[in-house]
Amino acid sequence: MIRLNLLLTLILIACALSVVTSQHNARKLFVELEKEQELARQLAIELGQLQLEQSTWALQARVEKIASEQIRMRVLDPSQVRIIMPENVMNTNTAGGIP
């Protein structure tokens, strides 16, 4: 009887200790999780700021200015344009074309 009790006591102590360690582990992991989540939030904020920056750089007005002033691009005169169409599309198009 006493032996059994002793054994059970030992098991109990072992269990209690393992509860303590796993709780500790859980907390450590949780801290890590929190850290990662904080990082995710930070990155989301940074993403927003970068998107903002990107769209500021990519503003139509700015792109247009650079295109026309720095690399001298311009819209072609219609007389310089050749439109290539697959034959079947062109047929239906001209059929419904000029009234």
Binding site: F30, S55, A58, Q60, P78, E87
Partner: protein
């Protein structure tokens, strides 16, 4: 042995006393325990918990607004606000000076804020960039804290200002889309209870008190490229014609989505301080004007629908005036007998008045009402106006005559643009949408397909030689449209030399993709006819927009090469 043991036994009285004392002590302890456990349990548990558990706020940011291709138009990003709790503040004047320097205020202002009526919470400076906030933290002053807030940025600035509106200091929508969809866009901050350890790290989640709900992202129907184009051209035209104001609306002819919408004058939404209500108004939606001749096609459509006239029916417009009762209607150019088509092409007031007077007032009223005049477009934009269309029973003959060419009725620019879906979508009125649609909305049939096509052919004549808007032409595309030049209403009558010039049109006429309505308010650089000041804006924006959307040409201008021919060309090279 026995003796000594006997002498060791305590006298019976003493042992009983001792036992009683110990027992009493135990009872006392048990009583105290029961008292604490039973009656003070809640209080004590709360005290204990407060040593380690904390309620943490979880912020939720406001949703992003993008254009139809996902380009961001409004983004919220966190900023720091410095606040103080005057009760807990213990700072010296030199420290205040330092603080003032960092946050860019003068120390007297700060002094005043802190010393005002005793409060627990005073904002010192709101919306600081994170770098500056970090320097405030470095000062390490008791009673001065940071608070994370969100500030809204509009990368496109004034380009999309009227469409988007703006938010206030607390990131709540105040105008435009920001206000209309406030509930969707705004996030709901949440909170949770956590356990913190000695180093202030969160080690365990106990419960979530409120689940945070981040704001929903929204895609508008706006196409930023077309928006830029429309804004740029409108701005140039307003400056060149010295107009007081102007507006432009670009609609997708098939779906009714608003691809671009711009007004002048405008403001910069990133600079909240100087937004005047005068500039904040989205005129295309919230202001009405008399549309003038742009309404004539509806008169003609009503007449064609009755079957009493055809596009070739002739009306005598000479001598260019028509007297009804005491009033006289005038044409700007004298013409002779005109067909219905020519009435539209030359924009004859007398002709359209005669057509209108041949109809019962109810027929005309019905078509105008079904075309969306006098009713809200249902866009959901805050402050949208319905315009005014008088009930037909109250019309006098002169009113019916002037209504036929757009006087005595008031409409908003977006209503006008939308009404033209009638001719662009073969007789159906499409609902307008400020949000990107996944599936095209179904329209409502107002006039028959045949009538719509007949009017559309007349509208094409307007931009051909002999019409009022040859400047609306675009090479490579068939264009249909109508000019309008209306005297401004002033008090009870019309201003003699102040006009509203409009042009509404669509292209390619063979299968319309875009409807553009342009309005210039009081052009005062000499020219004021819609065909001269507004039509070129239409033509430039339409040309660019069709190119952006790569819409195939519908007028072969000898530059279309068939596929095999192109291969041969390639072979030569």
């Amino acid at each position: 042995m026995r003796n000594s043991s006997k002498s060791g036994i305590l006298p019976g009285g003493r042992s009983r006393v001792l036992a009683a004392v110990i027992l009493l002590g135990l009872i006392g302890l048990a009583g105290r325990a029961a008292y604490l456990q039973g009656m003070h349990k809640g209080f004590l548990q709360q005290k204990g918990e407060s040593r380690y558990s904390r309620v943490v706020e979880i912020s939720a940011h406001r949703g992003m607004i993008t254009d139809r291709h996902g380009e961001p138009l409004a983004i919220s990003t966190p900023v720091e606000s410095v606040w103080a709790s005057p009760k807990d503040m213990e700072i010296t004047t030199s420290q205040i000076k330092k603080l003032a320097e960092i946050i860019g205020m003068n120390s007297a202002e700060i002094q005043k804020k802190i010393e005002g009526p005793r409060r627990d919470f005073v904002y010192l400076k709101r919306h600081l960039p994170p770098e500056i906030a970090a320097r405030v933290v470095e000062l390490n002053m008791p009673g001065v804290f940071l608070r994370r807030e969100f500030r809204r940025y509009y990368p496109a600035g004034e380009l999309t200002a009227h469409m988007l509106g703006f938010t206030d200091m607390d990131d709540n929508g105040q105008e435009g889309v920001e206000l209309a969809w406030q509930n969707d866009l705004a996030g709901k901050p949440g909170s949770r209870r956590v356990i913190r350890d000695r180093k202030k790290r969160i080690v365990e989640d106990i419960e979530s008190i409120r689940v945070p709900r981040p704001g929903r992202d929204m895609a508008l129907s706006i196409d930023s490229k077309i928006q830029h184009l429309a804004y740029r051209e409108l701005k140039q035209a307003v400056e060149a014609s010295k107009s007081k104001a102007g507006g432009i609306v670009v609609l997708d002819a098939q779906t009714g989505e608003v691809l671009a919408l711009a007004n002048l004058p405008v403001y910069n939404p990133n600079n909240r301080g100087n937004i005047k209500s005068e500039r904040a108004r989205n005129r295309a939606l919230t202001d009405v004007f008399e549309p003038g001749s742009t309404l004539k096609p509806f008169t003609v459509a009503a007449a064609l629908e009755t079957g009493q006239i055809s596009p070739d029916t002739i009306f005598q417009t000479a001598p260019g005036t028509l007297t009804i009762g005491k009033a006289t209607i005038r044409d700007s150019h004298r013409e002779g007998p005109l067909t219905v088509s020519q009435v539209i092409q030359k924009s004859s007031n007398v002709g359209s008045a005669k057509i209108a007077l041949s109809l019962p007032s109810k027929t005309l009223w019905e078509i105008l009402s079904q075309s969306g005049f006098g009713v809200s477009t249902g866009s959901g934009f805050p402050g949208e106006v319905t315009g005014r269309l008088k009930p037909h029973k109250t019309w006098r003959p002169i009113e019916q005559a002037t209504m036929s060419y757009g006087h005595g009725i008031s409409v908003s620019l977006i209503q006008l643009a939308r009404a033209y879906t009638l001719f662009a979508a073969e007789g159906e009125l499409k609902p307008v949408s400020l949000l990107k649609l996944d599936a095209p909305a179904t329209g409502e049939r107002v006039i028959s397909r045949a009538t719509a096509l007949a009017v559309s052919r007349m509208l094409e004549m307007v931009v051909r030689p002999g019409g009022t808007a040859t400047r609306a032409q675009i090479s490579g595309y068939r264009v249909a449209g109508k000019t309008g030049t209306a005297h401004k209403v002033e008090g009870n009558g019309y201003a003699k030399d102040r006009y509203i010039s409009t042009f509404v049109g669509y292209a390619p006429a063979s299968s319309p993709r875009l409807i553009i309505a342009v309005m210039l308010d009081e052009p005062s650089a000499g020219q004021y006819f819609g065909g001269v000041v507004a039509a070129p804006v239409f033509s430039k924006v339409m040309d660019g927009a069709l190119r952006i959307m790569s819409v195939p040409h519908d007028v072969p201008s000898n530059n279309i090469v068939s596929f095999p021919a192109a291969r041969e060309l390639g072979g030569d090279v």
